[in-house]
Subunit: 448 residues, 2 copies
Amino acid sequence: MPAQRCLHLGAFMRPVSIHTGAWRYPGAWPDANFSFPRLKHLIQRLEAGKFDAFFMADHLALLNMPIEALRRSHTVTSFDPLTLLPALAAVTDRIGLIATASTTYNDPYHVARKFASLDHISNGRAGWNVVTTANPDAALNFGQDEHMAHGERYKRAREFYDVVTGLWDSFADDAFIRDAESGIFWDPSRMHVLNHEGPELKVRGPLNVARPVQGWPLIVQAGASEAGRQLAAETAEMVFAAGGPIADARAFYADVKGRAAAFGRNPDHIKILPGALVVVGTTVEEAREKRALLDSLVHYESAIGSLSIALGVDARAFDPDAPLPDIPDTEASKSGRERAIALARREKLTVRQLAQRLGGYGGAAIVGTPATIADEMQEWLETRACDGFNVMFPYVPGGLEDFVTQVVPELQRRGIFRTEYEGTTLREHLGLPRPENRFFRLAARAAE
Amino acid sequence: MPAQRCLHLGAFMRPVSIHTGAWRYPGAWPDANFSFPRLKHLIQRLEAGKFDAFFMADHLALLNMPIEALRRSHTVTSFDPLTLLPALAAVTDRIGLIATASTTYNDPYHVARKFASLDHISNGRAGWNVVTTANPDAALNFGQDEHMAHGERYKRAREFYDVVTGLWDSFADDAFIRDAESGIFWDPSRMHVLNHEGPELKVRGPLNVARPVQGWPLIVQAGASEAGRQLAAETAEMVFAAGGPIADARAFYADVKGRAAAFGRNPDHIKILPGALVVVGTTVEEAREKRALLDSLVHYESAIGSLSIALGVDARAFDPDAPLPDIPDTEASKSGRERAIALARREKLTVRQLAQRLGGYGGAAIVGTPATIADEMQEWLETRACDGFNVMFPYVPGGLEDFVTQVVPELQRRGIFRTEYEGTTLREHLGLPRPENRFFRLAARAAE
């Protein structure tokens, strides 16, 4: 019988809370995104909670939202992930460090080198969240007039991945001899010059960093589109999935694992971790009250815009403190409209409460006691809706502390989460193999 | 009467020793360039020695040297400076952190953001060594067939500097209010959108990081060409100068300070720190023996190439163990040839010793006891040949330890080096002002 499958937990930390009201919550640190001492405290608490990884998203421009919402946002700026994570590597020992880097607005040589350096500095804990950048404003910060089209971005991303992984394989693992006696520092026959010339990219190589500790840093992706799923199935080792109803999550899980198998990959080597905002209370009622308080901190003027977009009508005309009126069919996405209406009816929300819910964080949430949260996570794990979660906290430090001190021990008691790190690298935490060097593996075989 | 001028000391640490024989020296760490624990130890010792800054050069390709020399080089690879320095920031409190970044092979938005992030993470200790990249092989790693011409590179560098410093000024220092009560996180009227459109670069902005702790990270430059001197005089706050005879250094010092004054700058706000390899012994004789041992570790096959280039003749024809024969005039640089010949005559070096000297490190060196080294440094300081030094160590950790435990106390005893950090930022260590925000200073004045 196979060993009990265990959850993998990432902490999605940029912003430190996804919830737009988080910075106003009683006891919250409003400056957490901006403060290295705060971020250091948070990652050390996550490491005490044995999280697989600290996961840092990114943006290459101000968020493209109306200024009324933007000036109320604690996520308007943040540190560059590839500058922050090395600093956090130096104050931790085991937790993985996943940084987002765009394939649209970077050179592959820089990306390969920075992640290789981070992997060495952290002794094998680096992960690269491969994104193509959704915010079109980024183009204007990188000398371009227009954002590259979706299909083009994914085509470039696929080639970019080949170049970066090829550069990581520039040196065999045994290339560096450092023989003081003979004076030979390294063996040029154990170096491969990539000489890549493709439709989008031209990169000679070799990389000027030794092969990463993990062979390759972990490859992470979050794309949910058809092109995104194909790229993930072919290349990703962790997928940051949408939450959503469990039935949808199971279908997504089966779809992506099936696509990976069709590429000849072992489906166990692609871990699927949906995002979930987790709010912990001593009773379910208390947890719901916490969430309601959090939502109430979202400014109505900003929130009503989110609701109008979801419904496809101008919701500012509605009475904020009355139930949601009947909404006619519109041009807006049917699923988004129906989800919003169903949510309002199910939880008996006023227009204001619904707007603040969607404006705060409209994605998947798990709200309850440590036991009910563990029940829900266990059901997702055991029915193959996921291999774990990318947890988002309602605010910091309190919301994170609740998870680490209350939910983690409950998961450990049930035997579905580690009580100690078994390995030292992020790949080891996730049960993933260390990739062989594509050039030197082939050379060795040819010589046999 | 003005206070005694004091030395400023940078440690030039990529490679950890500039000397190509360093990794073979008895007691040396051959893997120091590759090992975060080693680098962490070294920077903590430099901080104990009250150094102004840890200075990390960079290369964007393998060094362009013959493979016979390259496979004996401990500098063939190294960590990306902007990935290493944040990690070192997290394990230090005061020492400055200067990273090299190329204006030819980077986007200004990334450079501005990474240095701003490093400045926040280190609480005001970041410096940017602005380079245009000399190694033409870098072009091939960045999708280009040819390295940009020298003049073009400097033109782009000047504009790049304007963009990066403009992006650092995107937010007024008081832009972030974080008023939980009103829900206003920041004030859009305290944000400036750069909208730069120049001949080389087009960048909208704003940067998505708050203004750096230092206003702007320190600007460092090392160019010695006419274009390099002009760029330094106009923009640099620290110049990494060549060493060379003291008379030349005085002329360079006067020239660059004069050019800065011509740009309307305060000449005290541009600090000139020549590089110097410093070898410490208990007697002058012992220091010279240490250096001779170090030179003897340079492989003759690699070294003789350096000598041939310097002399402009094929030096492999000479008897390695005989004195240097008479050398006819050649097409090679006259000053390089004459320096090599004069060195051989002055120190009575054999062909092999001369080759190994030039192949090991041909630049300026200070070799002696703590007292003679301090004498020399003091003379340079007092006769305005420099404002300090970028020190290079013969090997690590021993050569660095010799400097910190023997030379630093001698300089402190003479009152020409700090015994404690007076401030917390790199600018404060160097006595440099915090730049005003160009956009919000003007706005404030206009409102007066």
